[in-house]
């Protein structure tokens, strides 16, 4: 088996006709039907119910926006503003908040291993899969009414097009123009609803090439790495703003995760 290395990007070449009928649609449908995401959801459920931290409590009273411990619809309504933290949070930032406030864990300890590997997923990854499952089939409705939600969306939009770093890249460098691809992966134009919708409806996902669940925080982190920019903090305002911007762009789409990705 050849290893898939994700190092230097090749020249962004025009892709073959990005038709509505992607040549991989059949593959994506069949792998989604036969995906091992349930195993990770089960693990996530265990972590959700596990007593941890100095306070020795589980996450079962964590308020993900729908009320303490309410899982149904929580993922589909994120990112959103949380008064107790006075900021907009995505799922992972909110989970971290609960780990710290409910369980008394330090930020350092809780984020020591946020991205797992093929042998063992991280707590964030399996928790994300578990929580996301409870929004399957529901329309994506991230928060947009609160002033801070509005500000977060606009910040995300600005960052999306802001060029920086040693390569003078922005998200739009890869995700800003139709017909682009990296090797065989089509690059969706993420500021356009028609492309953002199928994408945001399928995160978190089981990533075949990593044999584990990947989350949006991981994706932001990895994109920053690919752009040769400094590593963003986990759940930072920047990453949440970008995720917020893209989720709002994808508003209304029926959530169909946890999904499976190449």
């Amino acid at each position: 088996m050849r290893a898939v290395t994700c190092g230097v990007m090749l020249a962004l070449a025009p892709s073959p006709a990005l038709a509505q009928q992607s040549p991989y649609a059949e593959y994506q449908r069949m792998t989604a039907e036969n995906a091992p995401t349930e195993l990770f959801e089960l693990e996530g459920e265990e972590i959700w119910k596990k007593r941890q931290g100095p306070k020795n409590v589980s996450l079962e009273r964590c308020d993900l926006g729908e009320g303490p411990g309410v899982l149904k619809g929580a993922y589909a309504h994120l990112p959103r503003y949380f008064a107790d933290a006075d900021r907009v949070m995505d799922l992972e930032a909110r989970l971290l908040h609960c780990m710290m406030s409910l369980q008394g864990r330090s930020r350092e300890e809780a984020t020591k291993r946020v991205f797992g590997n093929a042998d063992r997923g991280s707590e964030m990854e399996v928790l994300s899969a578990y929580v996301a499952r409870h929004s399957n089939g529901m329309p994506l409705r991230p928060g947009i009414r609160h002033p801070k939600e509005r500000a977060s969306y606009e910040l995300g939009q600005k960052i999306f097009f802001h060029r920086a770093g040693p390569w003078d890249f922005s998200c739009a460098s890869c995700h800003g123009e139709e017909g682009k691809r990296i090797r065989m992966s089509e690059l969706p134009v993420l500021y356009k609803p028609e492309f953002a919708r199928p994408l945001m409806a399928t995160w978190p996902a089981y990533r075949v090439s990593s044999s584990k669940i990947v989350t949006l925080q991981w994706r932001m982190n990895d994109c920053y790495r690919q752009m040769r920019m400094p590593e963003p903090d986990f759940g930072s305002e920047t990453t949440v703003a970008l995720i917020h911007f893209m989720t709002v762009t994808a508003r209304g789409e029926s959530y169909r995760g946890p999904a499976i990705k190449r």
């Binding site: 088996m1 036969n34 091992p36 195993l39 693990e43 093929a118 042998d119 044999s211």
Partner: protein, 104 residues
């Protein structure tokens, strides 16, 4: 890697019961190098057995060419709510796991 969780769903379909089972297993081909640069030894499920109410209905022999964290679907003739389905596996290192569920 110890035997991880195993999950199964058995649902009544049109004239048959669909059995979907998810297994946690590295299914190592023996060709992959670990972080220490050494080859990770061959470690894969060899036998999969499906039983309905204690009676074996499917015996599968598989190779390391089956994907990591295998997912299988089988079809049982007929089937009724409450039927007990059991799936077990045995790998080349003698490790084993099994799970059972009732038809929903």
């Amino acid at each position: 890697m110890a035997a991880g969780p195993m999950r199964m769903r058995a649902t009544l379909g049109a004239g048959y019961t669909d059995v979907r089972v998810l297994m946690s297993h590295p299914m190592e081909t023996g060709q992959r190098k670990g972080s220490d640069g050494k080859l990770i030894p061959l470690h894969f499920i060899q036998n999969v057995t499906v039983k309905v109410n204690g009676k074996t209905v499917v015996e599968g022999q598989i190779s390391q060419a089956i994907s990591r964290n295998p997912v299988f679907s089988f079809r049982i003739k007929g089937g009724a709510k409450g039927d007990k389905i059991e799936v077990s596996w045995l790998d080349n290192q003698g490790e084993t796991n099994s799970t059972e569920t009732a038809v929903a």
